[in-house]
Amino acid sequence: MRHEAQFTYFCVSLASDAFNIQAALKTSIYTPDPLLRHPRKMLRDMLADLQMSRQLAFQLALRDIRSQYRQSLLGFFWMIALPLANALIWILLKNTGVISLADVEIPYALFALSGTLMWSVFTDATLSPITQMMNAKSILVKINFPAEAVILSGLYQTGFQAAIKILILFCAWQSYGIHFHWGWILFPLVVMALILVGTVLGLLLTPAGMLYSDIQKVLPLALQLLMFATPVVFAVPAEGFAARIFAWNPMTPLFLTGRHCLSGQSAGPLWASAMVCAIAVLLLLIVWVAFRLAKPIIVERIGA
C-alpha cells in the first residue's frame, strides 16, 4: 500500500518518541454502562471537567457578552433596563395611589429598586442554564466538550451582570445619603446566594426542559408568580395565608438579608439565609450529577 513506505520510515524515526507519548496519553472509554455504577470515577470526572471548563467557560462568556452588546447602541444599559422599568412602574403605582402598599422602613424607591434588581439576578440565574444549553445545542451535537462549560459560562455572565447591578444599588443608596458601611461588604455574598439558588432551580429543570419546550415557556410565568410570594416590591405581610407562603419561601430570608445589608439597620435573618445556602449547595451537587447523567441522553434526542 501507498503508506507502507511512510509507515516504516515513521516507525523507525519515531519509535522512541512513540514510547514517551504512550505514557502521557489520556484514554477515554465509551460504553453503555450506567455512569452511577462508578461514583468515585464520576466524581473525579466531574472535578476534572470543571477544571477544564473554567477557561472555556470564560472564553464563551466573553464571546456572549461581547457579541450581545456589540450589535447594540445602548449596549450594557439593556442589562438593567428591565428591572429598572419594573421598579419605576411600582414606584409610580404607589406614589399615584393606584395601589396601596404597607409602609416600609426605608424609602420606597430604594425598596423597590433593590427588590427588582435582586430579583432580576435571581431570574437571570434561573433561566441561564436552560437558555445557555439551548443556545449551545448546535455545538453540543458536534463538538465533544464538557457541558459544564456552558453552565459555567452562563454563571459568569449572570455574575458580571450582577456586579453591575450591585454597583447601581450602591449608587442609589449613596444618593439617599446612606454611605458605605460593613453591610455593603456582605451584600455581594447575598447576591451570590441568589445566584446559587437560581442555578440550582434552573439546572434542575434543564434536562427535561431541553427535551420538551413546554418548560422553557412556562418558566418565566412561574417566576412572575413567585415574585409575588417574595418580598420584592412589597414587604412581608404580617398575617394570613400570604404570610405563611412568604414564611416558607426560601427566597424571603435572602431578600430580607439583602436589604438589611444595604440599609445597615440590622443583620436580618442571617441564620435562615445561611441555612438556605447550605441546602442549596447540597442540592447543587445533586442536580449537577443529574445534569451529567442527562447530557448524553439529551444530545442523542435533540441530535443533528
Binding site: T27, I29, I139, I143, R301
Partner: protein, 404 residues
C-alpha cells in the same frame, strides 16, 4: 507496529424514527440512568427504533487512516459521533487514546458578530486548546487560513469558503493524536483543498485518522484501511481499500443517464461485443484486459446531416471522463443521409484498471452557424473491466521498463 489509538468493539447504536416517541424514550432513559441500574431497554429495540450502527469493530493505529464509506444514512456519521464521545454506544465499547480533534463540522460555534481572530480563541477553546496554546499558534493559523487582511473583520462578512478555511486551520493546529474528519473538504477551492490534503498527509504520520467521504479518489488517496457501512453494518471485514471501494460501488444502482435527442437524431441501439460474446439487456457486460471491445451503434436520422461528428467519452464511476474517441471524421467524410445509420467502433486492448465504466456518446452537426448538438446520451452503456490489477485511477499505461 505503532500503538493502537482507536479501538471499537462491537459498537451499536439505535435511533428512533418518530420524534414524540423518541422524546418519551429519552425521559424514560433519563429516569433509568438516575437509578444507576443498567438500562435493559438499551440493548434491545423498542417500538419504532432501529439500529443505526450495529456490531462495528475496528482498530486504528497511529499513522493509519481509516476510510469510512457508505451511502447516506448508512451510519457513518453516527459512528463518528460515537468515536468523538458525543453519542454513547448502546452496546459495545470504544477506547480512544490521546487528544481527539474532530472536524465534524467546520466552524461549528463560530459567532458571526465577532472577528475571525476572536473566533479563533473561542473555537480553539472548544477544541480543548488553552489560551496560551492559541496565542502561540495564532500566527500559524491565520497564515494557513490565508485570511490575513480579513482576520479582524466579523465572521458574518466571510464567504462560506473563508469560514471553512478558518475552521480547518484551527482544527488541524490543535495538535490531535486522533483526527476525525466528516466530509469536510467537500467545499473550498482547489488550491486550498490541495493544501488541506498536504497538511493531512503531514498530520497522518503523527495521528490516527478516521475519514468519512463519498469521494472514492479521496478515500483511495488517504486511507490505509476501509470500513464500508451498509444499513448500519460493516460489510468489509478485511478492511482492504480496493475491495472496500468495489463493494461501495457494487451497492450503487447504475442506470443510463440523461438523454438529449434533438428530434433530428435518436439512438436506436448501442451494444457491446467482444469475440463471440455480446451484451445482453439488463446485464453489465464484462470484459478482460486482453480482449478487444467492439461498440455497435444504430442511430436514426430524421433528416440528412451535412457535417456529422460522432464522439464517445469514457467515464469512471464518479462520472468523470478520462478518455475519448473523437476521430470519426478520419474514417467517415461527407453527409449522413436520412434513415438508419449504423457503425461499429473497435477498441483494442483497453488497458483499464478493474472497475465499472460507462460510455457517453453524442452527435454534432458542424454548420456555418456553429455547432449543433443533435444527440447526447450520458452513460448510455456500462461495462465492467475484470483483472487483477489494482489502482485508483482508471488507466494503466502500457509501458516498458528497463534496468540498465
Amino acid at each position: 507496529m505503532n500503538e493502537i489509538l482507536i479501538s471499537a468493539n462491537n459498537v451499536s447504536k439505535k435511533f428512533c424514527r418518530d420524534l414524540r416517541t423518541s422524546l418519551r424514550y429519552g425521559i424514560r432513559d433519563l429516569l433509568v440512568s438516575y437509578t444507576g441500574m443498567a438500562n435493559r431497554a438499551g440493548a434491545v429495540l423498542r417500538e419504532r427504533e432501529f439500529w443505526a450502527v450495529q456490531d462495528v469493530s475496528f482498530k486504528v493505529r497511529r499513522g493509519e487512516c481509516l476510510g469510512l464509506i457508505g451511502h447516506n444514512g448508512s451510519g457513518k456519521s453516527t459512528l463518528l459521533k460515537m468515536l468523538n464521545g458525543i453519542l454513547r454506544p448502546d452496546k459495545g465499547r470504544i477506547e480512544m487514546r490521546g487528544r481527539v480533534g474532530a472536524l465534524i463540522e467546520l466552524g461549528a460555534g463560530f459567532n458571526p458578530v465577532l472577528t475571525g481572530r476572536e473566533n479563533i480563541f473561542n473555537n480553539g477553546a472548544l477544541l480543548g486548546m488553552s489560551r496560551s496554546d492559541v496565542r502561540s499558534k495564532i500566527e500559524e493559523i491565520v497564515e494557513f487560513s490565508e485570511l490575513d487582511e480579513f482576520i479582524d473583520s466579523p465572521v458574518s462578512f466571510y464567504s462560506s469558503g473563508m469560514r471553512m478555511r478558518l475552521g480547518f486551520s484551527i482544527a488541524v493546529h490543535s495538535d490531535p493524536d486522533i483526527l476525525l474528519l466528516d466530509e469536510v473538504l467537500a467545499v473550498g477551492d482547489l488550491g486550498f483543498a490541495l493544501k488541506c490534503y498536504n497538511k493531512m498527509d503531514e498530520l497522518q504520520q503523527k495521528t490516527a485518522m478516521v475519514f468519512v467521504s463519498h469521494s472514492m479518489p479521496k478515500i483511495a488517496r488517504m486511507a490505509t484501511g476501509i470500513v464500508v457501512m451498509k444499513e448500519g453494518r460493516s460489510i468489509n471485514p478485511s478492511f482492504d481499500v480496493s475491495e472496500g471501494i468495489s463493494q461501495y460501488y457494487d451497492a450503487q444502482n447504475f442506470t443510463p443517464g440523461q438523454r438529449y435527442e434533438s428530434g433530428v437524431a435518436e439512438l436506436i441501439g448501442i451494444a457491446l461485443r467482444s469475440g463471440e460474446r455480446s451484451s445482453q439487456a439488463g446485464k453489465i457486460f464484462a470484459l478482460s484486459e486482453e480482449e478487444t471491445l467492439k461498440i455497435d451503434l444504430t442511430i436514426k436520422l430524421h433528416r440528412p446531416v451535412q457535417n456529422p461528428k460522432l464522439w464517445l467519452v469514457f467515464l469512471d464511476r464518479e462520472q468523470r471522463g478520462f478518455a475519448e474517441v473523437g476521430n470519426f471524421d478520419k474514417f467517415h467524410s461527407g453527409p449522413l443521409s436520412q434513415g438508419l445509420f449504423s457503425c461499429s467502433i473497435e477498441l483494442e486492448r483497453l488497458s483499464l484498471n478493474p472497475g465499472l465504466y460507462s460510455i457517453t456518446l453524442g452527435l454534432h452537426e458542424e454548420a456555418v452557424s456553429g455547432r449543433h448538438q443533435l444527440l447526447r446520451i450520458q452513460s448510455a452503456v456500462y461495462f465492467k473491466m475484470n483483472g487483477d490489477k489494482q489502482g485508483w485511477v482508471p488507466i494503466q499505461l502500457p509501458t516498458r521498463w528497463q534496468f540498465p
